[in-house]
């Protein structure tokens, strides 16, 4: 709606920015600028054709929307271009390694996308009669079976919509189980290194959160933990492999101790990719664990979701699992909802419904397609290659980078470094990450876990080739060497990306969260 051009076609400012540039358009060949939809579209343009509206007497009771809504439209060609140009300002796994620790950014097979779009899965309504969705229920049942077998757990709740939602599911089940035995407890123990969703979830369920310290080897300090256990502790939330990328070797003992103290063990399964097919969490004694299908089982991250976070349960917690769920019947499958559950002696203690319908069907199809493709043998190889790749990075960088736990043996699926090696340069993990951007990589996870100073958490996943790892290793070593040689050159990276460093402080100080038309002012 604003005009970038004056009437001789001269630019007054670069579209969508206030800045001056070496080109008239602000574009740099294939790196294209794109104004906001609200600067481009107009209220009288439209990219759809619709049938004529039949004339009827309306039944809107005088509530018709009279004012302009303010939704600019674009024709179809402009729409395609707007979003295609924007997409090119993004990095994704399809472009290169995306070694965000804790995020398991692995290849997203296109077969999964194709399968999820089969009309028989994509174009069915959650409230159709169950006789008309038997294939969908079968798929959920099959996926549930895979998850139970892979984890060695006897029950699974399919409806949670992401990892954090799964945590909620698990903690609600724990709370329900405790209440059911009349044993209200108030505290949940969480390691310092835990992901933020763990304490947030515990708090959401009304628990007080206390930290468990780590030992020098980056694992839960089992003695400290045991010392803290008692009748007020409802649960311990443990991530395994943990967020330092390390296996918790004492987990069996920990579970036993927690159980002995009357509590439950919630396992954050975000890092299941490291052990799938090599270890079954059920064999370690945990009571509940969510599985991020959008991590371990390759459903795409989509720039922030959707995900899916099924939760497996031990015998002790299974009766409290949420509704609805799918059950095999004599000649098919049924969805067990409120009524049937309350009437059944196995499920009358369910803590209830967590989502409007039955979970992330679209993600279920993708995950099952992935599991079937890999099979039990392939999934085991997944874990092995993920761990191998991470250790290769650790081994290849630990002479230059500070690797706080490298002495304690191999890592699992991710390699953790700190920025201590930059000490004295004034440079930090942030500067390092931004330098990686110019090299054509997505940076690793920065400043997480909190237990390590200036953490750099590198998770390659098993879908990276040796060639790709060697590129990453080479570039990281090169950056490190060049940083140590000439620190001042590195305070302002990136230089080659669509944008230089963005001012996050300004953004938060005076938040601008939606577009306001300033064309009058211009």
């Amino acid at each position: 709606m604003t005009t970038q051009m004056n009437n001789t076609g001269r630019v007054t400012r670069i579209p969508g920015t206030g800045a001056v540039s070496e080109t008239f358009t602000g574009n740099r060949a294939l790196m294209l600028e794109e104004p906001l939809l609200f600067e481009r579209g107009s209220l009288d343009n439209c990219g759809v054709d619709l049938p004529e509206v039949p004339l009827v007497q309306d039944r809107l009771a005088g509530l018709a929307r009279a004012e302009a809504i303010g939704l600019p439209g674009l024709s179809e060609p402009e729409t395609v271009r707007h979003y295609t140009r924007l997409s090119r300002q993004n990095y994704g796994i399809d472009l290169g390694i995306f070694p965000l620790g804790s995020c398991t950014m692995k290849h997203n097979p296109r077969l999964n996308e194709k399968m999820a779009r089969l009309p028989g899965f994509a174009d069915i309504h959650p409230l159709q009669p169950q006789s008309t969705v038997q294939g969908a229920l079968q798929l959920i049942d099959k996926l549930a079976e895979w998850l139970m077998k892979l984890t060695g757990m006897p029950a699974v709740a399919m409806s949670p919509k992401a990892g954090a939602h799964g945590e909620l599911c698990g903690m609600l089940a724990i709370r329900a189980a405790l209440e059911a035995r009349g044993d209200a407890r108030s505290v949940v123990l969480v390691p310092e290194s835990a992901h933020g969703t763990n304490p947030a979830t515990a708090a959401f369920c009304g628990y007080a959160v206390e930290n468990i310290p780590a030992n020098a080897r980056g694992r839960v300090d089992i003695d400290a933990l045991k010392a803290r256990l008692g009748p007020d502790v409802a649960a311990v939330m443990i991530t395994n492999p943990n967020t330092c990328g390390l296996f918790e070797p004492d987990l069996i003992d920990i579970c036993a101790a927690v159980h002995a103290a009357g509590g439950f063990v919630y396992c954050d399964g975000a890092n299941f990719n490291a052990i799938v097919g090599r270890v079954r969490p059920g064999d370690l004694g945990v009571d509940a664990m969510h599985i991020n299908l959008h991590k371990t089982f390759s459903t795409p991250h989509g720039g922030g979701g959707p995900g899916s976070g099924p939760v497996v349960f031990s015998e002790a917690l299974a009766p409290f699992a949420p509704l609805p769920f799918v059950r095999k019947t004599r000649d098919g499958f049924e969805l067990v909802e409120e009524m049937q559950a309350r009437a059944s002696k196995d499920h009358d203690r369910s803590f209830g419904r967590m989502v409007a319908f039955h979970g992330q069907m679209g993600m279920f199809v993708r995950a099952l397609s992935y599991m079937m493709s890999h099979g039990a043998d392939g999934l085991r190889q997944v874990a092995e290659d993920a761990v191998l790749n991470a250790n290769y990075i650790l081994a290849s960088l630990k002479d230059v980078f500070t690797a706080p736990f490298a002495d304690s043996g191999p890592c699992m699926h991710e390699a953790l470094f700190s920025d201590d090696f930059l000490h004295g340069t004034g440079l930090t993990t942030l500067d390092f990450a931004k330098a990686m951007i110019d090299e054509g990589f997505h940076p690793m996870t920065m400043y997480f876990p909190l237990v390590v100073h200036g953490a750099m958490l590198v998770e390659p996943t098993e879908t990276e080739s040796k060639y790709s790892l060697d590129q990453l290793i080479g570039a990281m070593r090169s950056i490190a060497e060049r940083m140590l040689a000439d620190p001042d050159a590195w305070r302002t990276s990136p230089h080659l990306a669509p944008r230089r460093r963005l001012d996050e402080t300004a953004a938060a100080r005076k938040p601008v969260l939606s577009y306001r038309d300033t064309s009058e002012a211009a």
């Binding site: 809504i69 899916s308 493709s373 392939g378 191998l388």
Partner: protein, 455 residues
């Protein structure tokens, strides 16, 4: 295995660099008792793409696909036509395979989309600010109740009987172990005013009330003017939370914001997203600017880069779990980013003109069908002011009717017996949704079949 790039040679070379004798050495931390020596039993081995496709196609083939039959199911999920462009865009690898935009310099694509999405949502709902999405409408509603508690420091939420019963169930679940007090009610099928009674709601507001939660159009499709309710809330220092499960309606009826809502949540599936048997869907969440620091979820904001160029970043993250941990406004992390993109692309294609026309079309078609069905002997049109969904009262229990229609290849709506099991007063009720995808032939088929089944 096609997804694994390492060759056996690579593996050996890499073990050499690591200095490990074999792969087992890397798993040394696993307690011996828990080590698996071979692939887990009882699961199939790896499988060619062709065969996976075949097996899944068989399962898909067992479902009755909405697009192939006369289809009138709604109740919080709607079948609209999604232009092919939408699916093309969301499959761009740069959108599909990106993570949450933690590194804004190489995520301006996702971030600008989110900024545009937030703006579109805010305008559509008539609010100041919207977040970057929630899981779905039901979880968004629960978060809204929690937010109202933070804002008002009160713990009583009054929930209208017209709110989708599954949404109410979710709220009940999430407040089971908190000290929130949730007041709910069962709807009735009063012709002309089905679902809830706004006057009774107003009467129920008191000084402990943090919020009133109301859905518009409500679960029976009834549309209402919420302005008096908003006024009553504000007078009492409570917030009005409005739930919208069919966002296309906002192209035709006054927005919750215009009626005075303080928080608006919604299910955004109708725009850009398919039915998908219930998920993934798209939770919308919008509020007044003054409450922004109490909002859950991610927010994208405008800023500038080191060269002064405009750019976008995730902002106000001190509200969020990764910074604030147990004091966060919500535990949400992964949300519904790609569904938000689909929504945004579709709404950009529609624009003001397209959305209004689409809404008008949905409404007109629903009116046509409602009037036809209302003329079937014994059938009563319960919802008289509606957008694209309405309730009928049948002369008999609706659940078996729906089943009989399905046997005839017609997906004829939702029986209230399914939504409110055990509530006998509702069991003859049926809700029917009509969108632009239903043809005249579909209307004929439903009318004929209903006639026949009820005869």
């Amino acid at each position: 295995m096609r997804y694994l790039p390492l060759t056996q040679l690579d593996r050996e070379a890499m073990l050499g660099v690591i200095g490990a004798p074999d792969i087992d050495a890397l798993f040394a931390d696993v307690p011996a008792a828990a080590r698996l020596a071979k692939p887990i039993a009882g699961l199939p081995m790896h499988c060619p793409e062709m065969q996976v496709e075949r097996e899944l196609a068989v399962m898909a083939g067992k479902n009755l696909t909405a697009g192939t039959v006369p289809f009138f199911v709604g109740g919080g999920a709607y079948k609209h036509h999604v232009p092919a462009t939408v699916d093309h865009i969301i499959q761009r690898g740069e959108f599909l395979t990106a993570y949450t935009p933690y590194q804004p310099e190489i995520a301006q694509g996702t971030l600008q989309v989110l900024f545009e999405f937030q703006t579109q949502v805010a305008r559509l709902l008539g609010m100041d600010v919207a977040n970057a999405s929630m899981y779905d409408g039901s979880t968004a509603m629960t978060e809204a109740v929690f937010m109202a508690r933070r804002v008002t420091r009160r713990a009583k939420a009054v929930v209208s009987a017209g709110v989708h019963p599954h949404y109410v169930a979710v709220l009940n679940t999430l407040t089971r172990f908190t000290d929130d007090e949730i007041i709910t009610a069962t709807p009735d099928l009063t012709p002309g005013k089905p679902g809830d009674d706004l006057d009774a709601l107003i009467a129920g507001i008191d000084a402990q009330t943090s919020c009133v939660v109301v859905q518009n159009p409500n679960i029976f499709g009834h549309v209402a003017d919420l302005t008096p309710l908003a006024d009553a809330c504000h007078k009492a220092g409570a917030l009005l939370i409005v739930v919208v499960t069919e966002v296309i309606s906002l192209g035709a009826i006054k927005s919750p914001g215009e009626m005075g809502a303080d928080i608006v949540v919604g299910e955004g599936q109708s725009i850009g997203n398919g039915l998908n048997f219930g998920g993934p869907y798209l939770g919308l969440f919008a509020a007044r600017e003054k409450h922004v620091r109490q909002m859950p979820g991610r927010l994208c904001g405008e800023t500038v880069d080191a060269d002064g160029k405009r750019g976008f970043v995730l902002t106000l993250s001190t509200r969020e779990q990764h910074i604030r941990r147990e004091k966060a406004t919500s535990n949400i992390c992964t949300n519904s980013g790609l569904c938000a993109l689909a929504f945004s692309v579709h709404l950009t294609l529609l624009g003001e003109i397209g959305l209004r026309k689409l809404a008008a079309l949905n409404h007109a078609r629903a009116v046509q069908l409602a009037e036809r069905l209302g003329r079937i002997p014994g059938v009563e049109l319960v919802t008289t002011q509606f957008f694209n969904e309405f309730a009928l009262k049948l002369p008999t229990e609706a659940r078996p009717v729906i089943r009989k229609l399905a046997d005839r290849g017609i997906l004829g709506g939702i029986s209230l017996g399914r939504l409110y099991p055990g509530v006998h007063a509702l069991e003859n009720g049926l809700i029917i949704a009509v969108t632009e995808t239903a043809t005249d032939a579909d209307f004929d088929a439903l009318e004929d079949a209903l006639d026949e089944v009820l005869a």
